[in-house]
């Protein structure tokens, strides 16, 4: 352990060298120039040679062997100033896990088109759980950017300071999901001696010395965290001759306009918020873009430039090769209707191109790989699959395009500020003077349905240069429909015939659930499901329709016997209709709510039941009918008696994705009525 106040005064850099850096398969590297390449051999300027099979990659003009250094922390804040800030804050936030004293970002566009991002953090740790603030990983891209740690330190309550040293810093390749392969590297570091009660401080700078486009400069920043923030500041610096387009969202009223000043040929825009309360998560809350104070900026006033850049890449990747055309024709053989052709290819891509994401750089990162490559690999990610889908449709003469989308769980970005917001890609299809969307990244969506997190948001179509919105389907297009027929005996036992069908996201979800289970285990799975509420249930027969046939609607049906469905209490029989869903809405569990409720998409549930009651009984009580609605949803349910049958039907439909926070109490009351109604029981009287 190093003594107090002694720190190493080095910098972490990637030294820029001329010539190439040649990385070999064994992990070592050379810095040299290649004179020429012939017959699978590289001939070097040194006179040596390398077999092609020995080389894994060659970097040009911008990378060198990593040296681990940490800066001398010349920009650390004055300790007394920090202590003076923290004292009152601790009183204001007594149960916070930590308090962020400074959260400062600076994005700078240099005159030569290079850009840098500097970040400075100071935080006080009040609960042990927040010691992870001392562990950080900083992204960089070999050949395009470098990272430099200016300094890091831990300040103890007694004033003792421990500084970050080089043995706590390392370059690593981060672990990701099994399907993801990219070239990201991280510079990770751990501050020393971090404990509850300490203040930590660090700052670093990322220099993008080789941006893919000098004009593309899209700074953005969030100003809130799950812990309170005392100062959050964001500065953008650009050459004086340029103009920054920006929007500040979710700022306190009257806020959002930056302080602008010009100095030494640079124009600076600065936003600052102080004493920002912590973000407290709620169930079904909107994406962060919609609620967290943020700034989004760009040098572009329109989308033209970005669209042009991206469309060039998209079009090249969509090239229809003979293999693509042959495959499209093979899939659609015998299908005359265009809808059927689209459906067939949609289903084929979902099932035959598995999800693997390989990103080598910004080209594959944003626009994926060529359709022919994806077809050959039989794998690809969202943009790969969407591109292949569009390409195959084009081969049949159907106009289609891969489009970028920000899934709706992230919120709505400010589309007036051109930026690469998309985190996903789907396909836009033009037909009969209209257009619609499909998402081939799924594996279980039946045409024309597509994934719920694509609903009710915007997409960018670079090839057409347009922005469109995706629809929220009607509840009937995301519907579960149940039919339950019950024969109740005077013993209280019953035989139940259950069947269900689905549309939309529901259908995809439930189809995927059953496809994951081998057929030999279906019986056990159903037995478990029917036993959940009825421990004496015995399965008699079952059928699961079309789990593999995406072109056909998925359905479930089973027949089972229950002992003691009905409670027999002297001369009464009391029971609930089995398999009827009992409604429960965790999004309205709390007394109050700050944020809108946000669902992925619409919702529909219809239940119909017919109960044959024993001949020696009469209906003493069925719940009264209910018919309620609010601006966002409706619910009807009721029972009627016909001879010795009780007929039940209900319908719950939610049309909206978003329920405003100021409507919360009414919405809560609305849903609570439904929850309560679904708990009712039927009472029969024995007539002996």
């Amino acid at each position: 352990m190093k003594k107090i106040l002694i720190f190493s005064s080095l910098f972490i850099i990637f030294s820029l060298i001329s010539g190439e850096q040649i990385w070999l398969k064994d992990g070592s590297s050379l810095e040299t120039s290649i004179k020429f390449f012939r017959d699978s051999v590289f001939f070097l300027s040194t006179g040596d040679s390398l077999l092609q099979t020995e080389v894994s990659e060659i970097l040009y003009g911008g990378s060198g062997e990593t040296k681990y250094h940490v800066g001398n922390g010349q920009d650390f804040w004055d300790l007394q100033y920090i202590m003076d800030m923290i004292k009152p804050a601790k009183l204001d936030y007594p149960d916070a896990g930590g308090i962020i004293i400074l959260d400062e970002g600076l994005e700078k566009l240099h005159n030569d088109g290079k850009r840098s991002y500097r970040y400075h953090f100071i935080g006080m740790i009040l609960k042990p759980e927040m010691t992870y603030w001392g562990e950080n990983s900083l992204y960089f891209e070999e050949g395009r950017s470098t990272v430099k740690i200016g300094g890091g330190r831990t300040i103890k309550p007694d004033g003792t300071i421990y500084y970050l040293e080089e043995d706590m810093v390392k370059v690593t390749m981060p672990v990701e999901g099994m399907e993801f392969m990219d070239q990201d590297k991280y510079l990770s570091f751990t501050l020393p001696e971090v404990q509850k009660g300490d203040i930590i401080e660090y700052y670093y700078e990322r220099n993008t010395y080789n941006p893919y486009d000098h004009r593309v400069f899209e700074p953005s920043y969030y100003f809130q965290s799950s812990e309170p923030v005392l100062i959050s500041r964001f500065t953008v610096e650009i050459p004086e001759t340029l103009e920054l387009n920006y929007i500040a969202k979710n700022f306190p009223e009257g806020g959002g306009e930056p302080l602008v000043r010009i100095s030494e040929g640079m124009k600076m825009y600065q936003w600052e918020l102080r004493r920002i309360p912590p973000l407290i998560r709620e169930e079904y809350m909107p994406g962060e873009i919609d609620i967290v104070p943020g700034v989004y900026a760009s040098l572009f006033g329109s989308w033209d430039y970005l669209f042009e850049w991206e469309s060039k890449l998209n079009l090249r990747r969509m090239e229809v090769t003979p293999e693509i055309e042959q495959q499209a024709l093979r899939i659609t053989r015998g299908l005359d209707r265009v809808d059927d052709q689209i459906a067939a290819i949609y289903h084929w891509i979902q099932r035959n191109i598995r999800y693997v994401s390989i990103k080598g750089g910004v080209g594959s990162g944003l626009c994926g790989h060529s359709a022919s490559t994806t077809l050959e690999n039989k794998f690809g990610d969202c943009i790969d699959k969407s591109t292949l889908f569009a390409s195959m449709l084009q081969a049949l003469g159907i106009q289609a395009y891969p489009v970028g989308i920000l899934t709706n769980d992230n919120g709505q970005p400010p589309w007036d500020i051109p930026n690469v917001y998309a985190n996903h890609a789907i396909t836009e299809i033009h037909l009969n003077d209209t257009f619609f969307f499909l998402d081939p990244t799924s594996s279980d969506h039946r045409f024309p349905y597509f994934s719920g997190d694509d609903h009710g948001t915007l997409v960018t179509n670079p090839i057409l240069g347009e922005i469109h919105s995706t629809p929220i389907p009607e509840p009937d297009d995301n519907m579960r429909s149940y039919q339950i027929d019950v024969v109740l005996k005077s013993s209280g036992d019953a035989v139940i015939d259950y069947s269900s069908t689905y549309t939309g996201d529901w259908e995809a979800w439930i189809r995927g659930f059953w496809r994951d289970i081998p057929r030999s285990e279906w019986e056990n799975q159903i037995s478990e499901m029917i036993s959940a509420d009825h421990p004496e249930a015995q399965l008699l027969e079952y059928e699961i329709s079309n789990p593999e046939r995406l072109d056909k609607q998925f359905g479930l049906s089973w027949k089972y016997r229950i002992r003691n469905l009905s409670l027999i209490a002297r001369d009464l029989m009391v029971f609930r209709i089995p398999d009827l869903r009992q409604y429960s809405f965790p999004e309205v569990a709390t007394r109050e709510r700050k944020y809108n409720i946000e669902y992925a998409t619409s919702y529909g549930l219809k239940q119909n039941a017919k109960v044959e009651i024993p001949l020696n009984t009469s209906v003493r009580f069925v719940p009264p009918e209910i018919n309620i609605e609010c601006p966002y949803a409706s619910y009807q349910a009721g029972y009627r008696v016909e001879d010795n049958f009780i007929i039940y039907s209900d319908s719950f439909k939610r049309y909206a994705r978003r329920i405003p926070a100021d409507y919360y109490l009414e919405y809560k009351a609305f849903l609570n009525q439904i929850s309560r109604y679904s708990k009712y029981k039927i009472v029969l009287q024995k007539t002996f």
Binding site: S188, E283, R351, P586, R676
Partner: protein, 702 residues
């Protein structure tokens, strides 16, 4: 093979060799193809269409070379095995109700004369349906500091005989603990195989190279002969030099099983032990299935030694890792300053002041990090924290032992093959005034002397300079685990139910509940509101009190006061049907009639509930569900309803509505962690008995 196809094959092979080189341009564009030319100013690439493009080097920032990928035909592969399997598998398995089948696996452990060793694996699988395609993504784990994984080849054979090899771009090495530089050692090599269809056969070979066998880098092989899916044939070979001695054991193999064979022989101066097993069924899903270690057949082997020597060797490896006297004295003075209870003060220091990183022994090292580094970083994994605690106790003269422990996931320990790599965790055993304590200073919610549930009932190796031995870790009494819930519910005339509920969380449940201390007040409010929402969706919170979760020695209690408006459900003008709140037991987990695998439970303990329902005198009890009871050596459940008019007098004098009351009491007790499959019927009957209460209502009349 027809002659006229040979030319096509040759052309195909040539065209596809080396395909997949990628040029990355500064402007973001990428081109994929085959590198055909490069000089000091330009690069030439043949693209898929057959054209050749030439680009200036000034526009390049990276060139990736593809050396693995190629496409060929199976006839060019000189391997009888793959030819046979390709011919047979296509017809035999398609149409099976399986995602994939393991056709063949051959594992070779090769110990070299210099005591380095290797694990060579070849595996051949066939994909039967779409779900099975997920096996085309694979990962191989290794410790990067001194191990390597070499991909010999990974290929897929399609039904038409085309063979695709993986691409370099679909191969990635990544660090599991990348965010913790001080623990960065466990890596994985991840691959995504291309060209996968239903009916494709995946065939791969890898070599995992290990450093020299030593106390810090032990040698242990542990192979299972089963897989999640059908396994047709697996071979395991242990090949070692004549001067090397091994000890081995097979487990969960019936001696009468004719599908299994074991052979010992010598070849070319090497000793070889070969195990062969055929046709092992797939793992059927069942609830409560234990970790595979409990019932999968397998073999384990290590170099010859006993547990005492193993412990001594380990003791010698670690015992020099300590602090100098002055540092130790200074540290202890700081910890013990003004403290009366020395044992707990030291424990609390290691627990709270050294941040816990969930790094197990196999993820990083079997040697604890230097204590200097642990103290300077103020962080440690399982091994580091336990070792620091041991050193501190030991330095003060307390009788303590360092333990290597196993968790239930990796049980049972194979005692015939002593090796430290059968353990993945560490703890400290402390003897004091005749009492023995087992200390796990990991998460800051574990009280002194409490053994986290996952380590209870397992085996540990007590490390000693001369007398190391295996010991049994105690299993907590089931009555000290679980929950006690008492609920006082008052039903008002307007149908509102007012509830005061008290929950005591014991043992592991209490330790887990303490995790909520990280929540701030708003988050805690939400947590409690969601909790009562599960009791009834219309619940409204009035107030709550939670014991101090930071105090590890205070019983964990949650007291909630809430109301449920319109709780009662009318069954007509004069009938009230109500279910007691919180009585919502499911029999989902016992829906199947029979089980073939042993049972393994994670909710061991006793769960006691008492609900007092006070209802207005205007109502009379029309129907009460009958008492239920089930008892066995594994599990028991009792439930009883009682009427009580004792509150009559209190209501009389207070002037309030006079109430009668019902009392419901139940107790569920799960007494074992694991049990053989034939006890399932008892468990099932008990759960069904309990679940039968959920459908039973209380009926009151006006």
């Amino acid at each position: 093979m027809q002659k006229h196809n040979i030319i096509i094959i040759i052309i195909l092979t040539i065209l596809k060799l080396g395909w997949g080189d990628v040029i990355y341009l500064n402007d973001g564009e990428e081109y994929e193809g085959r590198l055909v030319g490069l000089n000091e100013t330009h690069v030439s690439l043949e693209v898929f269409s057959g054209d050749t493009i030439e680009l200036p080097l000034s526009g390049l920032y990276r060139l990736e070379l593809e050396n693995l990928s190629k496409v060929e035909l199976i006839d060019f592969i000189d391997d009888t095995l793959i030819h046979n399997l390709w011919g047979v598998a296509a017809q035999q398995f398609l149409g099976y109700d399986l995602p994939y089948v393991n056709l063949f696996e051959n594992i070779e452990y090769h110990i070299n004369p210099d005591s380095t060793w290797e694990r060579r694996e070849r595996k051949i699988q066939i994909i039967i349906n779409d779900v099975g395609k997920e096996i085309a993504n694979k990962a191989f784990y290794y410790l990067a500091q001194d191990e390597t994984i070499q991909i010999v080849y990974v290929r897929v054979v399609q039904e038409d005989g085309k063979v695709y090899y993986i691409r370099e771009s679909a191969l990635k090495d990544e660090s599991i603990n990348y965010n913790l530089p001080e623990y960065d050692n466990l890596w994985r090599k991840k691959i995504a195989i291309r060209g996968i269809n239903i009916g494709s056969i995946i065939d791969y070979q890898i070599i995992h190279k290990m450093p020299k066998i030593s106390a810090a880098r032990p040698f242990l092989i542990k192979e299972y002969f089963r897989d999640e899916e059908l396994m047709l044939h697996k071979k395991v070979n242990l090949i070692y030099p004549p001067n090397f001695e091994v000890i081995y054991d097979t487990f969960n193999i019936d001696s009468l099983d004719s599908s299994f064979s074991q052979k010992l022989f010598q070849k070319n101066g090497w000793k070889i032990i070969q195990w062969d097993i055929f046709t092992q069924p797939r793992l059927q899903y069942e609830p409560f299935t234990p970790p595979v270690a409990y019932f999968f057949p397998g073999v384990i082997a290590t170099n010859l030694k006993n547990w005492t020597d193993t412990g001594t060797e380990y003791y010698n490896l670690i015992h020099n890792n300590t602090l100098d006297d002055s540092s130790l004295t200074k540290l202890l003075n700081n910890i013990l300053y003004d403290r009366v209870d020395t044992l707990r003060a030291i424990y609390n220091y290691v627990l709270n002041d050294i941040k816990f990183q969930t790094i197990s022994l196999s993820e990083f090292s079997y040697q604890p990090r230097s204590l200097e580094k642990v103290l300077s970083s103020k962080s440690g994994g399982y091994l580091d924290k336990a070792y620091l605690l041991y050193v501190l106790y030991h330095s003060l003269g307390y009788k303590s032992h360092f333990l290597l422990v196993n968790d239930q996931e990796h049980c049972p320990l194979k005692e015939k093959t002593p090796d430290i790599s059968q353990f993945d965790y560490a703890m400290v055993e402390l003897e004091y005034h005749g009492d023995r304590y087992y200390l796990a200073p990991f998460w800051d919610r574990i009280p002194f002397g409490f053994i986290p549930g996952r380590f209870q009932g397992t085996k540990a190796l007590r490390i000693d300079a001369e007398a190391s031995r295996l010991i049994d870790m105690p299993l907590s009494d089931y009555d000290k685990e679980g929950e006690i819930i008492s609920m006082d519910a008052t039903l008002h005339l307007n149908g509102t139910l007012e509830i005061i509920e008290n929950i005591s969380y014991r043992g592991e449940k209490g330790s887990d509940f303490r995790d909520n201390k990280r929540l701030n007040k708003d988050e805690l409010d939400q947590f409690v509101e969601q909790l009562i929402h599960q009791v009834h969706p219309n619940s409204e919170l009035v107030s709550y009190f939670m014991s101090d979760l930071s105090d590890l020695y205070e019983e964990v209690q949650l007291n909630i006061n809430y109301i449920i408006p319109d709780y009662i459900l009318w069954g007509g003008e004069d009938l009230i049907i109500l279910n007691l709140p919180g009585i919502d037991y499911s029999a989902y987990d016992v829906g199947i009639e029979n089980k073939q695998y042993p049972l393994y439970f994670d909710d061991y303990g006793s769960y006691n509930k008492e609900i007092v329902l006070n209802y207005p005198r205007e109502f009379k009890v029309y129907y009460l569900p009958p008492d239920v009871c089930y008892e066995s050596s594994l599990v028991e459940y009792h439930a009883r309803f009682e009427g009580d008019r004792s509150s009559f007098l209190s209501g009389l004098f207070s002037g309030k509505t006079r109430l009668d009351r019902l009392v419901f009491r139940d107790r569920f007790c799960l007494k074992k962690l694991t049990t053989p499959a034939d006890e399932y019927k008892n468990y099932r009957e008990c759960i069904k008995t309990r679940a039968s209460l959920s459908g039973k209502s209380i009926i009151l009349t006006k």
